[in-house]
Subunit: 696 residues, 2 copies
């Protein structure tokens, strides 16, 4: 049993080896002609420049918080905190580097059909997927082994938890900064390029095109990767810290038979999920058809295999580790996985043009932009209700399952099995993170490949292949978002409960957060308001950053002679646009990012009950807003695409114009503010958990 962290670490190493192998297989593919290589390099340069600058800025924040941690909690907590941050940043850097190599190579391979192109895009994405899962699990296993098993230091579990805070810090700024970047560049490129100058998307004359493609990588690859690095890390930490704080044990008690299983089970599920993801990744093969069903099947084969294997292995593990009452936790883990999948499916139903919601929004476009916007908003709001039901089914299943296996937990030093079950459900959702992120990162790579094909004037047949690959990306993004938001809710719930126990473990009174008490209620109110403020700040940030881009693009069209006409040898100053996006988005990320860390600290030091209320309020309202914004945005996006595919008058018609308005409103919803909610609720909870001892 004690060997499980080693096994988990070994599986993480295997994942990293696989990532290395995929990197090699991407690298040896041809990146195409000079023009394509040039574009690829420009995108890569821009993306790297952004990440470097971002990490420089964030490192200041990380150092400050590390110093605080060293003094307030423990010096070793500062160390693991930094390790968590560095590994998350590293995964982002590696993944993005490969993603920006894979784009031109996918475009080049697309000349030979989707059978060649799909594996390259997938493997490019898989480097991200397995770097994220591998570095996270490796780091966690190492931290656990070193501080809990070997050194048995004081505050060992606080120190393990600080690793998660490191991951959260990077995720916070990557998601917010990357989200602002990608939409500012997108809006800037579209508004001046498509609307004002009347040139097509991804046209090489448009100075913002490179920045737009950089944005796909920093937002949808690096930002998303950091997000799931944090979710994955948090989901494994949650049951461990819950068990440790609820039972009030320290490192030297971690090997006791009564608690060992509880501490090892998370590693066990992570281990089998990782192995299953690795196996699954070999099942992704491209066919020769651009038929979307066939492509979708090929791409999802990897995730489906990984999930199937995880289900079987989780049941087996539960049977092995909890042999007197095995079924309960098996239900929790498998239930989590299924609910994660169902949340993704629900998102697909609300945002895919195969279903009625998107068709209805497209129809509403006939009566203008206002009805388009309203129908999208109401669709997103309705989807909140069904997602709440799904997540509550997951919570109920997991709670029931946990109680079946572990009992109710009476008395101050016992663990309520139900809450442990909820924490394990989150791991169930995220056990296949390697596979899920691989498929998700595939999306922006295909998108970029299309951009390069356009900018390098490749044959239209190539663009057709990349478009087919790209269109899958929307669905995969929806599914990944389902996992991200579902696991965020469950993880935050488990971490929230750990926080309650941590306060007790740190010598505080039992923390009863009665919402009828005025302190808790005030906290709940603040907590419900914060996600709205956070959304407003990020929406405005996109607007301001986009305005800077718009001005620059206009300036270039005005001041560079021959640019608009596409005169031979005249090139836009793309680097300047990249620079502006980088500067603006990083500056804009500071306020919302800082808020997420400072508010829980300030409230916590004033009143712990209020902090508890705040976390609960933010969790439920943030979840609701995240679902609302993601699904409204996704639905508008696909309604526009549905019209562009020839319905309701097609491209250029009035309904299309109305649908474009919906899509533009939805852009910061689904790619900036919505995803940032997941991080917000987890960051605040993990800040509270790590500092619980200091508050009391």
């Amino acid at each position: 049993m004690e060997s499980l962290p080693y096994l988990a670490g070994a599986s993480a190493l295997a994942a990293l080896v696989l990532a290395w192998f995929f990197f090699g297989s991407v690298a040896k593919a041809s990146p195409g002609d000079d023009r394509m290589v040039f574009l690829m390099n420009e995108i890569q340069k821009g993306a790297r420049a952004f990440l470097k600058k971002e990490y420089t800025w964030v490192s200041v924040f990380v150092i400050v918080l590390a110093i605080v941690l060293a003094f307030v909690i423990a010096p070793l907590a500062a160390l693991t905190y930094i390790l968590g941050a560095v590994l998350s940043a590293g995964a982002g850097y590696i993944g993005m580097t490969v993603a920006t190599m894979a784009n031109a190579r996918t475009a080049e391979a697309a000349k030979h059909g989707p059978g060649q192109a799909l594996p390259i895009a997938f493997r490019g994405g898989a480097v991200m997927g397995f770097s994220v899962a591998g570095l996270s699990l490796l780091g966690l296993a190492a931290v656990y082994l070193v501080f809990v098993t070997w050194m048995q230091v004081d505050d060992a579990f606080e120190i393990v938890t600080a690793f998660g805070l490191g991951a959260s810090s990077i995720a916070l700024f990557s998601r917010v900064g990357g989200g602002i970047y990608t939409k500012a560049a997108d809006v800037g490129a579209d508004l001046v390029g498509k609307v004002e100058a009347g040139i097509p998307e991804d046209d090489p004359r448009n100075p913002a095109t490179i920045a737009d493609n950089v944005g796909d990588n920093v937002g949808d690859v690096a930002g998303m990767g950091a997000d799931l690095f944090e979710s994955y890390t948090g989901s494994i930490i949650a049951p461990i810290s819950l068990a440790a704080f609820a039972l009030g044990i320290t490192a030297d008690g971690a090997a006791d038979e009564s608690v060992l299983n509880l501490l090892m089970f998370p590693f066990a599920i992570a281990f089998v999920g990782m192995i299953a993801s690795i196996i699954g990744s070999f099942f992704v093969r491209g066919g020769d058809s651009t038929d979307s069903h066939a492509l979708s099947k090929a791409l999802h084969m990897g995730t489906n295999v990984a999930m199937g294997l995880t289900v079987v292995a989780a049941v087996g593990l539960s049977y092995w580790m909890f042999d007197d009452k095995p079924w309960g936790l098996a239900v929790a883990v498998v239930g989590g996985l299924i609910v994660g999948w169902a949340l993704g499916k629900a998102a697909e139903i609300y945002t895919s043009d195969q279903f009625s919601t998107v068709k209805k929004i497209a129809k509403q476009s006939e009566t203008g932009p206002a009805t388009t916007v309203l129908s999208g908003i109401s669709a997103g709001m309705v989807s909140v209700a069904s997602s709440v039901i799904l997540i509550l089914v997951g919570v109920a299943l997991a709670y029931w399952g946990g109680e079946q296996t572990l009992g109710f937990g009476e008395g101050p030093k016992s663990i309520p099995g139900g809450i442990y079950g909820i924490a394990m459900a989150a791991i169930g959702m995220l056990a296949t993170t390697g596979a899920v992120v691989s498929v998700d990162a595939y999306g922006p790579i295909s998108d970029n490949a299309g951009g390069i094909a356009e900018m390098a004037h490749l044959d239209p047949s190539v663009r057709k292949v990349t478009d087919a690959l790209d269109s899958l990306g929307n669905t995969t993004a929806a599914i990944a978002k389902g996992f991200a938001v579902g696991s965020a809710a469950l993880t935050a719930l488990a971490l929230f409960k750990s926080f309650q126990y941590a306060v007790v473990a740190a010598g505080g009174e039992t923390l009863i957060l009665d919402v009828g008490e005025v302190e808790v209620f005030i906290g709940l109110f603040i907590g419900a308001g914060l996600p709205f403020l956070f959304s407003a700040l990020t929406i405005d940030a996109v607007g301001r950053a986009a305005n800077k881009m718009i001005e620059e693009v206009r300036r270039q069209f005005r001041e560079i002679p021959g640019l608009r006409e596409g005169r031979e040898g005249v090139a836009p100053d793309s680097a300047r646009c990249v620079e502006i996006s980088t500067e603006a988005s990083l500056r804009e990320m500071l306020v919302p990012g800082g808020l997420a860390v400072v508010v829980p600290l300030v409230v916590g030091f004033i009143n712990v009950d209020a902090l508890g209320g705040l976390l609960a309020g933010s969790l439920v309202t943030g979840f609701a807003l995240a679902i609302f914004m993601a699904n409204s945005g996704g639905a508008w996006d696909n309604a526009k695409k549905y019209i562009e595919a020839g319905h309701h008058g097609g491209k250029g018609s009035d309904p299309h114009k109305a649908a474009v308005v919906g899509d533009t409103v939805g852009d910061p919803f689904k790619d900036t503010s919505g995803p940032a909610m997941n991080i917000l609720i987890k960051v605040m909870t993990i800040v509270a958990l790590v500092f619980a001892g200091a508050f009391v």
Copy 2:
């Protein structure tokens, strides 16, 4: 001290006499020429038809719930429930009847300038204001005296509370049904009339114009009146039920010295607020200038006088009734009044074109509808944060104040002074309901007067006067909304706390709603999701009802020869439009309305802890959504008007078109879904409170 309910009842009678006097003074003014009388009658007929039909439908609901109450709680509770419903409906009917008499008379008086017109519009509104406050307080005082003081029946306080549930039932359906009606008619009239047929607003050729004017009355007069009838009633019931349930007293203990003050203080504040409102109403006089500052000052003089007098009287009362520690509750009541006013001011700052938010949205209109929509959404979301801060200042002041006077309340049978303070703050906010509603109902009367001036082809100078009067209406609506939403939050919080005590009083265990417990958390999640679902349902309802209107207006333009051209003697079939709006909005109100009552009942019978979580979650999320929607909507509306006043290209320019999109999105936000949130959170809480005994 025991005489206070009598005094309150007497002041309520005085208010009703005043309403009668104002009715007389409106009635004796000239309604103008035949054409104006005809239009006025059409509007009145439509509005009455709507109310009659609405009350018929709602009476089925009321009877069913009354039967349930009779069996589950007490037969007398069914009686007071019906009384509350009937009085609220009566106030709505009276108020709307007079409002629909005052419109033409205001237009006629506007021929002689604002000095003549303003008092008529105000007095028309004041009939509503004083009917609402008068019937509510009269009913409550009577119910209290009969069942608590005289008969001392069992369950006397449950029976008093049921009166509030009656008010809530009418408010729920009036707000939702009226809100759907007004926006469906508005959108229908605008979209086909202004956009498709190219005829101006309020043009007599447009078949939906009458329905649009009817909508102003059923939504903004009757709906708003029922809303504030319920708020006012609820705010008085909250501290009474809180004291009774927390102290576990029955009617025969209500005269004990230790509790008498607590039960009488609400009546005392209501009494002085009513007298102050009556006095204030005589301070409203019109000047001869159409300058908006002078008009605004004239109109608000009534409310300002009423509030000033209430502050002074509240301090005096607190000194008289709690002479050992008088200041605490004085702070609570006055604090509530000030915070209510500040919430209104905050709403004004976000929604008036005198301030930067609206100007910013207008500026964003230059880059198209998408940026208009986004900036409005973010403005609304930011306003949530500042409103949360304001309401929490009110909560903190009131809590502190209550504790100062009454102490902390230890042990199971004591009252926590802080919570009582919060309940009293809500009364502080609403004590001047008579004055506030008068000014609020003034808005749609002026709006209607403008419509009649247009339709009756009066001299443009008349329209100018009515426009000046109307433009004040937006500000007054914002202020009234501040009071409505602020008091809703505080009242719901106090009722929520009463619910906790009522469960104990009914023999249940002490209800500790620890958000860390899974049942409470599940409830919290459902509670956070419900306002989103409710919003989506009401937004969609407006869309569907508007579509039916659009089809009918198109049909009439197509099938009635000469209508569009305005041929002599050709009139549209306005009655048919009114009928369609009525049918559609009443049908659409059933699902969201039913949801608000059924969900808490179902959850409560399954698990009382979950119900507690649900109420808390809905309260905070519903408050946030209410503020967001009201202020986004208001800001878009005024950004459009700001552009129409000649900025950014003025009427007909592209920015104007973009602003119209924002305004249309905002219509159901601010007039349907947003206001419905206030009722949702209170209805659910009062349902829980009334049925608390049955749940355990």
